[in-house]
């Protein structure tokens, strides 16, 4: 594991530009998917509105950098911060909803923000904003930030799982009602996860859009984001720490290798998703774990 992490962290030193790009995307997808996994896989919150934080994160770096000349790292942090604020506000509404209604509620929030931003003169309506960072970042520098986020998100979920919160989350994942009668404060823990996921997702979005140089409401707040996250997490193995790693690798691999045949790569992705659900409903890592009984990042207590 350590070797792989080290290899990943040093890609700019030995890899081609193409590889740097590949692993940059991998790290960011991994980060955001790991957060969706924290929600859907452990807290039972199936959010279809994670794109809301991706949009907020993207616009935060644009507005903070362009308008106020804020340092780039602080702008990224600001993206996380605003996402948490928004998540708190959203929770007033959506935490009353259950199951499907929660999922739809989060999505509607994202749609509202999409329309809001495309009608808001401050962010130049639907045309979107170019992003100028202060100071300007090289490709490698952006890669390192993404790397820190990617590794950080895995470590974060790992440490959450080793903590009191994680113990409760794992119990909730297996049976929410029973865990509540065992003293687990289900509502509060769900809220914590929602806020943590918003924070990290918001920051990852900032890095992604710095790389894209351009943020635009119809892309940033698009459901396509969440569709990708669902694929990554469920194909990889929902409720496992390793699942999103494998899933993100598959997604980035498909989209990069078949970059010239964009729609073909997505067709294949759709087919893989259906095949995985039919053949290995727990996802690739979930099924491997169940069959072979190994875990690399085990949150197990002994």
């Amino acid at each position: 594991m350590g070797v792989l992490t080290a290899a990943l962290g040093t890609v700019p030193l030995w890899g081609s530009d193409y590889l740097v790009l590949f692993f940059f995307l991998f790290c960011l997808y991994l980060t955001v998917a790991q957060m969706w996994n924290l929600l859907a896989g452990y807290s039972g919150l199936i959010s279809l509105g994670q794109q809301v934080f991706l949009g907020i994160g993207g616009y935060s770096v644009a507005v903070m950098g362009n308008y106020y000349g804020l340092n780039v790292l602080l702008s990224i942090l600001a993206g996380g911060f605003f996402s948490v604020l928004l998540a708190l506000f959203m929770s007033l509404f959506i935490f009353r909803m259950k199951g499907v209604y929660f999922s739809i509620g989060t999505w509607i929030f994202a749609e509202i923000l999409m329309i809001w931003f495309s009608n808001w003169s401050f962010v130049k309506y639907g045309t979107g904003l170019f992003i100028k960072t202060n100071p300007p970042l090289s490709t490698n520098e952006t890669f390192y930030i993404a790397f820190v986020l990617g590794v950080g998100s895995v470590a974060l979920v790992y440490f959450i799982m080793r903590s009191r919160l994680g113990l409760g989350l794992m119990a909730m994942r297996d049976n929410e009602d029973v865990s509540e009668t065992m003293g687990v404060q289900v509502f509060r823990y769900k809220l914590y996860c929602f806020l943590i996921a918003a924070f990290i997702t918001g920051m990852a979005a900032g890095v992604f859009y710095i790389f894209q140089v351009f943020v635009q409401p119809y892309k940033a707040f698009s459901i396509d984001w969440t569709v990708k996250l669902v694929f990554i997490v469920i194909i990889g193995g929902i409720g496992t720490i390793e699942g999103p790693i494998v899933g993100a690798l598959i997604l980035v691999f498909l989209s990069q290798v078949l970059a010239d045949y964009f729609s073909v790569s997505l067709l294949i992705l759709g087919a893989i998703a259906i095949a995985v659900i039919l053949l290995a409903p727990k996802g690739i890592m979930g099924t491997l774990q169940a069959k072979l009984g190994f875990e690399i990042l085990s949150p197990r207590r002994k």
Binding site: L167, A171, V178, S179, M182, G183, Q185, R300, R301
Partner: protein
């Protein structure tokens, strides 16, 4: 000593159906109260109301002198109400040890450092030490029932609600569990115990509560209750035509 649990005129509707009706009883400190009743008598619903999984539509529940009718299930557990389920519901993807840890950390509010030796102690009591690192989903029925008891115990309850431990087990296995329950009682835990095998209840319990149609039919000395006419009737059907 005051009663550990006092239930007053408890009521619960499912839609328009009254499933628990004006139910009142108390559990004395340190006793085992057996609960009996035919299908649909409202026994498990009563447990769900006491633990807070269901919200009562009327009446009150006083635990240890505090009105807990509006508290969340988690809070009730922290205050000392533990329960087992009729069909064991362990956290299947967690190990036996982790299952107990959940109880100790979240239910009893211990730090994980202190919870670990306590969980080991409980493992020994329920005789599951050898299975400690097995996934709970892979346990056999007897071990699941043991875990069910152990997990509830790990929350350090002052009142333990037991929903049928004997179902589906052989006689020897039942006797083994009976011993565990007795040990739990000796630790000063009060127990409310739903069971279908009457032998267990008439031997093991201090008092017996009989429910029918969500109402209290009888409550008192087990032998006396078992021989009463209306209890027999509610099981055997009425004689008159």
């Amino acid at each position: 000593m005051p009663d550990i649990l006092v239930v007053k005129s408890l009521e619960k509707y499912f839609g328009h159906l009254l499933v628990v009706s004006q139910l009142s009883f108390e559990v004395r400190q340190g006793e085992i109260l057996g609960v009996l009743g035919p299908n649909g008598a409202g026994k498990t619903t009563m447990f769900n109301l006491i633990t807070g999984t269901l919200k009562a539509d009327g009446g009150s529940i006083i635990f240890n002198g505090v009105d807990i009718t509006r508290e969340s299930p988690a809070r009730r557990c922290r205050q000392g109400i533990g329960r087992t389920y009729q069909i064991p519901r362990p956290f299947e993807n967690m190990t036996v040890y982790e299952n107990l840890l959940v109880g100790a950390v979240h239910g009893a509010g211990m730090r994980e450092k202190h919870a670990a030796p306590f969980a080991m102690e409980v493992l020994e009591l329920i005789r599951l030490l050898p299975e400690k690192d097995k996934l709970a989903g892979g346990l056999c029925l007897l071990d699941r029932k043991r875990l069910e008891l152990g997990r509830a115990l790990a929350t350090q309850p002052r009142l333990l609600l037991i929903d049928e431990v004997a179902g589906g087990l052989t006689e020897n296995e039942v006797e083994m569990l009976l011993k565990v329950v007795k040990e739990i009682q000796h630790r000063g835990v009060s127990i409310v115990w739903i069971e279908h095998i009457l032998m267990m209840l008439s031997e093991g319990v201090d008092r017996l509560l009989v429910l029918d149609g969500g109402r209290r039919l009888q409550c008192g000395d087990p032998r006396h209750v078992m021989n009463s006419q209306d209890v027999m009737e509610c099981y055997l059907g009425s004689e008159e035509d």
